[in-house]
Subunit: 148 residues, 4 copies
Amino acid sequence: MNSTILEPESSRLERIRFSLNPANGAPIYRQIIQQVEYAILSGRMRPGDRLPTIRALAVELKTNPNTIARAYGELEIRGILTTQVGSGTFVSDKAPLLGAAISAEEGLNRKIREVLGRFVQDMRDLGVDKAELPNLIRNYKEGESHDV
Amino acid sequence: MNSTILEPESSRLERIRFSLNPANGAPIYRQIIQQVEYAILSGRMRPGDRLPTIRALAVELKTNPNTIARAYGELEIRGILTTQVGSGTFVSDKAPLLGAAISAEEGLNRKIREVLGRFVQDMRDLGVDKAELPNLIRNYKEGESHDV
Amino acid sequence: MNSTILEPESSRLERIRFSLNPANGAPIYRQIIQQVEYAILSGRMRPGDRLPTIRALAVELKTNPNTIARAYGELEIRGILTTQVGSGTFVSDKAPLLGAAISAEEGLNRKIREVLGRFVQDMRDLGVDKAELPNLIRNYKEGESHDV
Amino acid sequence: MNSTILEPESSRLERIRFSLNPANGAPIYRQIIQQVEYAILSGRMRPGDRLPTIRALAVELKTNPNTIARAYGELEIRGILTTQVGSGTFVSDKAPLLGAAISAEEGLNRKIREVLGRFVQDMRDLGVDKAELPNLIRNYKEGESHDV
DNA sequence: GTGGTCTAGACCACA
DNA sequence: GTGGTCTAGACCACT
């Protein structure tokens, strides 16, 4: 894109790459929320960072701007993002807590455990023992479409 | 009449254990569908096997029978289950294909890759590198109840 | 924003008229499914066309919305319809195949032959020879209401 | 079959050929009822005619004897059949009325109109005009499977 | 406003 | 005893 908006250099933009999976079952707005959450939990986005504008992101993700607005809106309600009219949407100062009364690190660990647990459970349901998982992962090569 | 209908010993019942996760976001009936699919893909359930009755499973899972019926019904539309009113619901003969024109083994592998891919992607979004995953898994201990 | 999303004029609504026959024996939701299928097979409804809303059709047919939802839902599982929550239910792009790996025209012809065959068989069971059927049909006048 | 039961020569047996279509959607016992009704309406079976025994028919149709018994039972409740213990099941003297307070001929005509009406309606739903039907029927050759 | 999920309960069809 | 159909109504998710 060609348009540039001048901003303080400390303000970092778009340290986040959204990737949607429309056939995922999960609603788009929720996928966006998750990706923002994960980016913050993982430290890729930090308080003060600016998010893409609603319109820009809507174009990029080929979705309805309302959908982006809803995701941002919900994140704002939770205190994770703040909107400054005229200058954009930013990661809030209290964001790392992500609404939970816990430390940022603890929040990340919880989420990791949650994802891990679901994975181990799913694999067990598919008949794959936990002991086989490390090897499976080492042999796993990305790129082949694995979304449904 | 003197003849009793002897069922082949291979006719097995309830080689499947359901566990719901209400905080999952996923609807109950979809969780049931997934667990039946996985049980078939993994070979734990085979064509001809009988599933728990709608009412029994509703009691076990503390849900409404209609919810179970919906899950079974959708699986029947897809050709994975067949029902014989009055005698129960069974894994269909063509079930291992699970609707795809592929072999049973290939179906299982696809699903494993799909789950694997989603896991690796989620972890990357959380800032965890693929290389760290094997160790994470080895250290992961189950037990924190997130199932019901 | 100034841009309005102009829908192509080809986007048509309700090129389908439902009529239920309660004394038919066939469940309501199945009658609806058949009528949608036939409307698509015959080309009266085409991919992208929107169906009546669940609630509107429930009022029109004097049934419970759940019954309509069930019919639409089953058609969606079969890939014949797609739903966009919030905006409605539409004929899927791949719908003309109606689940069979054949051309749209071939699908229509098959269904016509199927209906024809059942008719000839029923009439033979009633003692009416195939040769008499053309005359019977020519003399048949509709109007005796058996629909609602 | 080898066993013969001596009976008055006037008693005619099995002027009826049952053909079931299991994938029809219609329950088996109902298909049997319909075929008996049609046979009587069309005059192929007449009062006093004997029907196949429950067991013989169950073997022939590869169904559960209970299913046959239910069909015969329901027809007996309606007064269409009568059972004489030890000698078999027969078409009742009042059978031609088929439960309706109308003449036999009128009953047949009603049923024919009903089947005709459903056929014309289905064909219209498939986009086939009534005027085309006579030709379609003349060109129709049986034998190709047309059941679903 | 759209459709989606779930519950509760009635009544029917089938073996 | 099985599963199937339908109703009524609550509450949620999404545009």
